[in-house]
Amino acid sequence: MRTYFLRRLLHAIPLLFVLSIVLFLVVRSAPGGPLAQAERNPNITAEQREQLRARLGLDQPLHVQYITWISSVAQGDLGRSIKTNRPVAEMIGERVLNTLLLVGTAFILTVLIAIPLGALSALRQYSWFDYLVTTFSFAGQSAPVYWLGLVAILIFYVWLDNPFTGGPLLPAGGMYTLGAPKTLADLIWHMILPVAVLCSTWVAWYSRFFRASMLETLNADYVRTAIAKGLSRRRVVYGHAGRNAVIPLITMIALDLPSVFAGALFIETIFSWPGMGRLFWEAARGRDYPVLMAIIMINAVLIILANLIADMLYARLDPRVRYE
């Protein structure tokens, strides 16, 4: 099995190489270009726009541009942003921690809430509690997240007041109160709404998923056998069923981990959170190719790794799975 995964790890390298070509082509053959803002500036003449294109190397044939880009990436240089002229690595560095903070917190909270919720609702299938959890989780999946975000701002920022200060109950966005010293308390205060909205969707998915896999294992033959053999229900539930139900959940977590890097575009936009999702979106809208390709490739690496890890975990945790 170890050789299988080593082989897949090795396969990942040519795969990434092919992907880099495909993604480069996808990004570059889509219409639109990075100089649209220059086009809109009345003080920039057509001639200067062409000079700018030449300086950025955008007038070169596509394959030349690809080779230039990939060889500098191979040397660990992600290049400089077209828009800001700053190193791409630096720009990503500024944003990645913010995203980690927001999405990571929401992710951990989600898992911590969803596992007990899903397990309890599976154990008490068709009880009022189960219906409640089901309804809640369907509701979480059923609303567009930007809509939910704006509704949350309307309620907690516009309509509700903080009884102590008379100000808004919760802030509309950002990471810190503007002009105030940066404190942990202030940060947490700003994280409540975005994390809550993120969690409401994710908890929905995860609790639902865990409920299903819990139900499946609870009904599996070996669990029935264990109960028939007289083991205590508690021990069976936590020891046997719970453990096996966690396996698919762990793989699902592994598969979702790249999003902690990629960020959450809608939430970051609605709540003015300076994260990766927005950096990517702004780079995409402005066709800032170096930034764009860097994020896309890092994300591709993470997704491929996550898939590999998920399969590996699956193989380790579930003795029935065999890879040749």
Partner: protein
């Protein structure tokens, strides 16, 4: 392989600890919140103004800033010698007076311009601002490796002499009509920047040693730019506001909420008409607007789209016929558009709607749906069973072709969508079917190689806003000359309508050959009349320009030639 999960009691303990931690954090946050909220009404507390901007400026160096957002922020830290005021007249800023022929600042042949600085000016680090900084600005910006892309005439400067610390004598090798504009984007401190060829990477670009009213204290990537008053600013006692925070809020709903709650004081580019904006603000803020530079225009494609030929021939099957374009012009209810669809905008029928080259242009084809129908009948478009016309003897379309045009605009701009939807209804009333396709900004304004439909000629009618600079000739020549039609050999051509008109070419050449402003204006106005008659494009209205401002803010003046922050030193907060 065994999965070692902690036993249940242990797990429960972890869970309880975690919940306690979260609760503690929430309590901390709740207590922290009030103290963290900005103090209001306290006279001794430093005053603070929050300005909402929808996107982050890439840099505060205006010389390689292509995006409009840069100037909006950068004017708070830049040091122009002279800049236009709200009336469009240049006024001295760091210069002691405007150089003119009368005061000897400008030579008779306009080739020598002498700038004199105010005495005792200082950069924000306490170093003196001298004429050498003026010279350095020229050296830096005119360096081909500097990355400057703005055409400001620096290449026309032959030399700069600095006879003393306050005087810079600029010698031009050829006439620069816009010499007052020369240092409008600020002069650069030689001692605090770097080598000209590294201008793109100067640390100064994001943390400038400032000659303007403010200095950058903090730049939180993607979130906010905090500026505090420049202690060495030349105006005594100004700026009045201690701290200005530019905060980046991308979502319009969130922007509105922050303004309505009074947390922010200025909202740049609300993208909303005044009536609707003010109603949303409930008296907390109002849209401050003036007629702006952006001219909403329909660009008709006179050439056949999707024929792999970006040039002018063959004609567009529908819009190639002047009568159809006239009918479209007659079909538009201009009054409704400027009073009800986007109330507050200012109707105009000419591309030359402001500046010294402003023309009074009558509409050649005013709102008259009956005339529109008659023209379409005459052009061989007869009404079909569902009210939409079909070709029957039309000039360039095969019989049976449906009279269908596509309006092509750009996304995320609500005013534009409203206009398109209103136009679609008006066109329908005379038997023209309309589809709407709004593309990404970087597609519509992309270049020839990027596959921009505008450059490739793959569109029917483009709808967007254009503007002209104070010195418009280069732009006019690249928009209306028959030589400016975009092709593979001329990818940057700006004649998107593919309009070929000998008289227009003649007029533009004549205007380019003289320095006599009256003669130039006369030529442009004849061109305007030609455009309004031949309809390669149809000008609709001027946007109002401005920003939402809190009713606690005063002292500001909206300036169509300047930016949001051009007079930030005069702002006051009650």
């Amino acid at each position: 392989m065994k999965l070692n999960l902690p036993n249940t009691t242990h797990r429960r303990r972890i869970a309880i600890t975690f919940i306690l931690l979260v609760m503690a954090a929430l309590i901390m946050a709740a207590c922290g919140a009030p103290s963290a909220a900005p103090a209001t009404g306290d006279a001794s507390a430093p005053s603070q103004v929050v300005v909402i901007i929808p996107e982050e400026p890439a840099s505060l160096n205006q010389y390689h800033a292509v995006a409009a957002i840069v100037r909006q922020v950068a004017d708070a830290v830049s040091a122009p010698l002279a800049a236009p005021n709200a009336q469009g007249e240049f006024v001295p800023v760091l210069a002691a007076e405007l150089p003119t022929v009368a005061n000897g600042g400008v030579s008779e042949d306009y080739l020598t311009v002498t700038w004199k600085l105010r005495p005792d000016l200082k950069w924000s680090d306490g170093e003196p601002i001298t004429s050498d900084d003026i010279k350095f600005t020229w050296e830096a910006v005119s360096n081909p490796a500097s990355g400057n892309v703005l055409s400001l005439g620096f290449e026309k400067i032959a030399s700069i002499e600095t006879p003393d610390e306050l005087t810079a004598v600029i010698t031009y090798s050829e006439l620069n009509q816009a010499y007052l504009q020369q240092f409008m984007y600020g002069i650069l401190p030689r001692h605090a920047t770097g080598a000209p060829e590294e201008m793109l990477q100067w640390a100064w670009n994001r943390n400038p040693v400032s000659g303007g009213p403010y200095v950058v204290t903090e730049w939180n990537a993607g979130e906010s730019i905090v500026m505090d008053r420049n202690p060495y600013y030349y105006l005594e006692g100004q700026p009045y506001i201690d701290r200005v925070i530019f905060t980046i809020v991308p979502d319009p709903g969130a922007q509105m909420a922050m303004m309505a709650q009074g947390e922010a004081h200025v909202q740049l580019w609300p993208g909303e008409v005044k009536e609707v904006y003010d109603a949303q603000m409930n008296g907390m803020a109002a849209l401050q607007e003036i007629p702006g530079q952006w001219n909403m225009t329909l660009f008709f494609n006179l050439s056949r789209p999707f024929d792999d030929d970006p040039g002018a021939e063959p004609p567009h099957p529908i819009l190639g016929d002047l009568r159809v374009r006239q009918a479209i012009a007659h079909a538009i209810d201009y009054e409704t558009i400027v009073t009800a669809v986007n109330p507050g905008v200012i109707e105009t029928a000419t591309p030359f709607a402001y500046g010294w080259y402003q023309c009074d242009q009558e509409r050649k084809y005013p709102y008259d749906p009956e005339a529109a129908k008659a023209l379409l009948e005459e052009a061989g478009w007869v009404e079909g069973p569902d009210g939409i016309r079909v070709a029957q003897g039309a000039a360039y379309a095969e019989d049976g072709t449906r009279l269908r045009v596509q309006l092509n605009g750009y996304t995320n701009f609500q005013q534009l969508v409203k206009l398109e939807e209103a136009l679609a209804e008006m066109f329908k009333a005379v038997g023209i079917e309309t589809t709407i396709q709004n593309d990404d900004f970087s597609i519509i304004f992309g270049s020839f190689d990027d596959g921009a439909p505008r450059q490739l000629g793959n569109f029917d009618i483009l709808v967007y806003d254009t503007s002209l600079p104070m010195e418009p000739h280069a732009s006019i020549a690249n928009t209306y000359m028959s030589t400016a039609i975009p092709t593979a050999d001329n990818p940057a051509g700006g004649n998107a309508s593919r309009w070929v008109n000998a008289r227009a070419d003649e007029l533009i050449r004549a205007a380019g050959a003289t320095v006599d402003l009256d003669a130039r204006r006369a030529a442009y106005c004849e061109l305007s009349d030609l455009i309004a008659t031949e309809l390669p494009r149809l000008n609709l209205y001027l946007f109002t320009e401005g920003y939402g401002a809190s009713n606690r803010l005063s002292g500001y003046e909206v300036n169509m030639w300047g930016s949001l922050s051009w007079d930030i030193q005069n702002w006051r907060l009650d």
